[in-house]
Structure formats: structure tokens, C-alpha cells
Symmetry: C2
Subunit: 368 residues, 2 copies
């Protein structure tokens, strides 16, 4: 069923998308401002279309930002870059999109397709290909289930652009990343064009609505002075991200961060706060590669990619991004299961713990 | 008037193109093999079309290699990469080429359009946009006289490709260079598509025929045991590269070479061979940025870019590329004037000595 989004919804969605980003994905704030501006300038609202409401012959062109999210804070997007990529890809394919959608539900890319949708007066499909945030363009259910990422359009703020065609989605990522660097660190893309039948087969459903729900749950719990973490656990139980649990509460004692091969890598260490030294406090280490990928407490893995590992402020439940982690922060770590389409053997080959270099087999959060 | 080229002509053209490359441009040998193979496989000859024989509504798409010429020795081109770029650009423009042509008369790029022409059964326009070799895609009379370098197609050996569209030719070079690096150091391009009227307005005429003449002059002088340098000077006097002169004869005493920003830079030092120390021998320094750009003897500039500075083996008059320069080689340095279209104020702004960082005004070789 179609849902209409208005400007007041965007704050909820931004907070929820930051939660789904599990530390990476870029802060959605700038993206939210871009959507707001597009809505004000056009007077339009946003129509959110269920994946299952797509007609088989609909034509969906997802849109997104790629590159270093930190760059958009200094090189503010004009707001039409992704629209330009959509147009360039439409020209290449000789076909107009009937809808756009996110490739990534977490972080700033929750917002970019909304900008495109408002500017182009298109609906947004409520779903995506990551179900969270991931670093590369082939971390996509679209890729996993056989959709070609190319032809892909890559545009910059001058509306300079390239249409890339590659024999596989890894090479497409490699070329697009190279261009993005030469475009100044960020670029805007349109890719994984597909018909409605393919979108129904390969999408992770309902991830925009989920972002809205997460944001709303946190906001309402704060307003009601109830515990936002309990509220989140109850809320997730009603969704395809069924199993949410608090895996750690404590304070940050160390943050190691480095940039390696264009990605933010690092480790954050936490320690439990125990009153009167009643017992030895537990400790936790979370390994980061743009996103929080694996959480280990006293030698035991408590959660691992692709399940969500979210570091939240213990007071406000506000999601904390990798860049914002600081010594002394009081945080609560929540782990959340992801939908089945993200946990198949094909999916785990692309984004399971071994893909990111961890020598462990994937175990579902609900079995840990 | 159209001229037909056959396989025996290719050795002359390769030697002449190496001469015009003034040390850079990549050894034409691999390109020559690609043309020979295309001719043998198709049974076709090559039709060379005079620039002035183009109809105004002809459609010319130049083709070339870009990247590090040293790479093609290890990553041998398959021979259809540039054809693939031509096709991709034709699809983008919705128009078939009626001819191809070189963007660069010197080095391996004298051969790439010939491969395309044979494979596609197209004529080659006898002219180019550099009149020699230069390092970057905007070192072109096409650029200087207002032709857009984009849309441009860039392809690799997998036939992966991108169509680049940029707001100026400097940005086009920047993006294409980035892609070329990610394609493994070499790529094949189609760019500066233009109608016949524009090609007539912006081309340097007759540079393929000139390459053939240079190669033939050296070959015939060798066979006749006459002096190839005198023969070259007489031959150039009949062309638009009118003024050729020997500016130094001696031996190489030092070669400094480094790779900086993807370009080969360096200096070669020469000393005159004087019998019985009858007088103090003269010395010369030649500054290199891929190509030989400025020649200075005892503090006096004797030749400078865009005029040609060619280092030739003193015995055989064989052109020596930058990579082949060695201590002790006996060499003769010949400087040659370039056509007027390459010496206008607009042209000198793009490839005069100041563009390459030398703090001197351009003085024509015939006035030095």
C-alpha cells in the first residue's frame, strides 16, 4: 500500500537510517536537508510504493551517492546530481523510470532517492539492496540475485558524467570508485536498473518504512520518558528484522581508527560499568570497516555481519557513527537480525564475516 | 587524393611515426603488428583520404590508445579495443563514422586508427590533431580550435567501457586518465567526433603521408649508402614541416629519468666529439617530459616545443625513444619546424614552452 511522506517524517527517517547504517553510511542529515529543500521548492510530497505493489513491467532505477560521506559536509551537493545520473541512464537505456529506490537503506543513501523522487515526481519503492549500510556497490541483493549493476551513470556537481558498462559488478565498482575519486571524492549514481518483476524478486522489502519506525520509536519513547531500548526490541519483533537484543552496555575506553584503501577501519573497546566492583566488569571489542562488523565480548562473538551492530547513546538511544565515537561515551550496543534474503549462502558469500576477512562462520544473532 | 597503403608501407610509417614522436608516443612496433594482422585476416588494404577530400557532412571519429605505452609490451592489445570504443561512441551519437583518423601522428597512435580502419572497412583521414606526439588529450588542434573531446568512449581488453561527458576537455582528460589507470594502465579511446567541415578546419594535414615519407627517406638513404640526414633535410623542405636542421652531433654522457605524476621526465646530456682536442667540445642538454621539449647548447636554446627535437642514431638515423637513451650512444639531434596551424597564439597557449613550465617565449626554429 502506498504511503505518503511529508517533511516532519524526515527527521524520524534520518534517525532510523542512521541506526540501520551501523556506524557507517554517512550521516543522513545533509541528505535530509536536500529532500526538505526539494519538497519546499516543488510543493510535492513523497509517495512510498510497496515492493509488492510494483507491476512486473514497471521500470525501477535506483539512485545513490557514492564516495566518502565525510566529503559532502564540505562539498555540499547541489541536489540535482543524482537526477542528472537518472536522466543519463534513461537516455542510455531508451526508457524512463517509473520509480526510483535506494540501493542502501542506511545512512545518507536513504535520502538521495527521495530527492530524486521529489524532483522527478516519481514514487520511491520502499525497499533496497543492502538492508543496512555496506561499503561497496556489489554489496547488494540486486548483485547477489543476478542483476547487472551496469550500465551505470556516475555524475558530479558540474553534471559531468560517465556511463560505465562492465562485464561484472566488481569491475563496475572498481571503475566507478576511480571516477568518484577524480570527481572530488563524491559522485552520484544511477544503477541496477530493473523491471518490477526483478525488483520484487531481489529487493529487501520495507526498509524505508523500517527506518521511519525506528526513528519514531526512539522519538516517542523519549517524549514519553520510557526506555527507548525496550521499545525498539518490541518494535523490531513486529518486522522482518525480528530479533533485537542489547548485547552490551558500558563506556568507550579506546577508539582506534585508520583510513586504509579508502575505507575507515578500526576497533572500538568498551568496558562495563559495575558499581562497587561487585564483580569483574565485562569488556567488548567491536571491529569496524566503515560499518560495525563484529562484536566480541571476553573472547566470545556476540554478533556479526550481516546482522546489525548498532552503537547507541545510552541516554537518548541516538545512533553514533564511527566518526563520532569518543573515549568516555556511555553507550548501549544493540544487535538486530536481518531478513532471510540477506542470510542465504549466496548472500553470505558476498557479505558474510569471511568476505570481510574474519575467520569465523556466520552464526545468526538469535543463535548466539 | 586517396592513397592505398599495403603491408610493406607499414615499416616506413612506423619509423616515420617514431621520428615524429620526438622520443615519446610509444614505440609503433606493436601497433604495426596489429595493423598487419588486421590486413592479413581481412585481406583488406588501407585507404588514406586527404583532409581536403572530406565532404562537409562526412562524420569523422578519431581513435587512439591512451595510457603508458610501456604497458602494451606486456599487456598486448587484442586489436579490437579501439573498434569497440568506436562502436560505443557511434551508439551514443546515433551516427556511424564515415572515416577514422589519428589524434596523434607520432608513436603508436599512428597505427591504432589504421587497425580500426581495416577492421571496419573505413578510410583513414590523412591528418591528426597533434602533428607529433604529446602527453595529454587536450594537446590537440581539435581542442585548440573548439571541438569537444566528449562524448568520449574508453574501452579495455574486456570491452568494458565508459562513455564520458565533461564540461571541458581538461576534465575529460582527467576522468579518462583515471579510468585508464583502473583499466590496467592502457585503454583505447574514440573521441573528438566531428563532421568533415570541422575536420577540414581543425586538422593538421598530411601527417600520415609525412610519416611514410620520413621512413622511406631514411630507408632509401641507407640502401643507397648516402647520408640520411641530408636526405631528410631536403625532404622536409618540400613539406609543411619545412625547416629541418641538425642542431647537434655527439655522444650521450648522462641520462636522468624519473616518473612524476604518471609522466616520464628527465634530462639527457650530450657532448660533441672533437678530434685531438682541437677546441673545447660543445655540450647540449635536452629536457624531456615524455617527449623531447627543449634543447639547450652551452646556455643557448636551439629548439623548443612545439617544434620537433629528434634524437637519431648517428649511423642509421633510427629515431631513439626516451626509454632507449643510453650512455655512450652516438647521436644526431635534428630539429624540425611544425606547420602554422600548430604555431598560432591559441596553439602556443596549449603546447608552447610555458605550458610545460619553461620560462621562455616560443621562438621558431628557423629564427634561432
Amino acid at each position: 500500500m502506498a504511503l505518503t511522506l511529508t517533511i516532519p517524517d524526515l527527521a524520524d527517517l534520518a534517525r532510523g537510517a542512521a541506526f540501520l547504517a551501523t556506524g557507517g553510511g554517512g550521516n543522513p542529515y545533509i541528505g535530509r536537508l536536500m529532500v526538505e529543500r526539494a519538497m519546499r521548492e516543488t510543493g510535492r510530497e513523497l509517495t512510498l510504493l510497496d515492493v509488492d505493489d510494483l507491476a512486473d513491467d514497471d521500470f525501477v532505477i535506483p539512485t545513490a551517492m557514492m564516495g566518502a560521506p565525510t566529503v559532502i559536509v564540505e562539498k555540499l551537493p547541489e541536489g540535482l546530481e543524482a537526477v542528472h545520473s537518472l536522466h543519463a541512464l534513461e537516455r542510455r537505456l531508451g526508457r524512463k523510470a517509473t520509480a526510483t529506490m535506494p540501493i542502501e537503506a542506511g545512512g545518507v543513501n536513504s535520502m538521495i532517492p527521495l530527492v530524486v523522487a521529489v524532483r522527478e515526481n516519481l514514487p520511491v519503492v520502499d525497499g533496497d539492496g543492502m538492508g543496512r549500510a555496506f561499503p561497496e556497490l556489489f554489496h547488494e541483493t540486486f548483485h547477489i540475485y543476478g542483476v547487472s549493476g551496469t550500465p551505470m551513470a556516475v555524475s558530479d556537481e558540474y553534471h559531468d558524467h560517465a556511463i560505465i558498462e562492465a562485464h561484472d559488478n566488481f569491475e563496475a565498482e572498481w571503475f566507478a570508485r576511480g571516477l568518484t575519486i577524480r570527481m572530488g571524492g563524491t559522485a552520484f549514481i544511477a544503477e541496477y536498473a530493473m523491471d518490477g518483476a526483478t525488483a520484487k524478486r531481489t529487493s529487501i522489502r520495507g526498509t524505508i518504512r523500517l527506518g521511519l519506525q525506528i526513528g519514531r520509536t526512539i522519538r516517542e519513547a523519549r517524549a514519553a520518558h520510557t526506555d527507548p531500548f525496550t521499545a525498539l526490541v518490541s518494535m523490531f519483533a513486529t518486522t522482518s528484522y525480528t530479533h533485537a537484543r542489547i548485547i552490551f552496555t558500558g563506556k568507550i575506553t579506546e577508539v582506534f581508527r585508520r583510513v586504509e584503501g579508502g575505507f575507515s577501519k578500526g576497533t572500538v573497546k568498551l568496558i562495563e560499568l559495575v558499581e562497587n566492583s561487585a564483580r569483574t566488569p565485562r569488556s567488548m571489542e567491536i571491529e569496524i570497516q566503515n560499518e560495525n562488523l563484529i562484536a566480541i565480548a571476553d573472547g566470545q562473538v556476540l554478533a556479526m555481519v550481516p546482522d546489525l551492530i548498532c552503537i547507541l547513546d545510552s541516554e537518548s538511544a541516538e545512533p553514533i557513527t564511527t566518526e563520532e565515537l569518543r573515549y568516555g561515551q556511555r553507550v548501549t550496543v544493540m544487535a538486530v537480525s536481518v531478513p532471510e534474503i540477506m542470510r542465504t549462502p549466496e548472500a553470505l558469500a558476498v557479505w558474510g564475516p569471511r568476505h570481510f576477512g574474519y575467520n569465523v562462520d556466520y552464526v545468526r544473532i538469535e543463535n548466539l
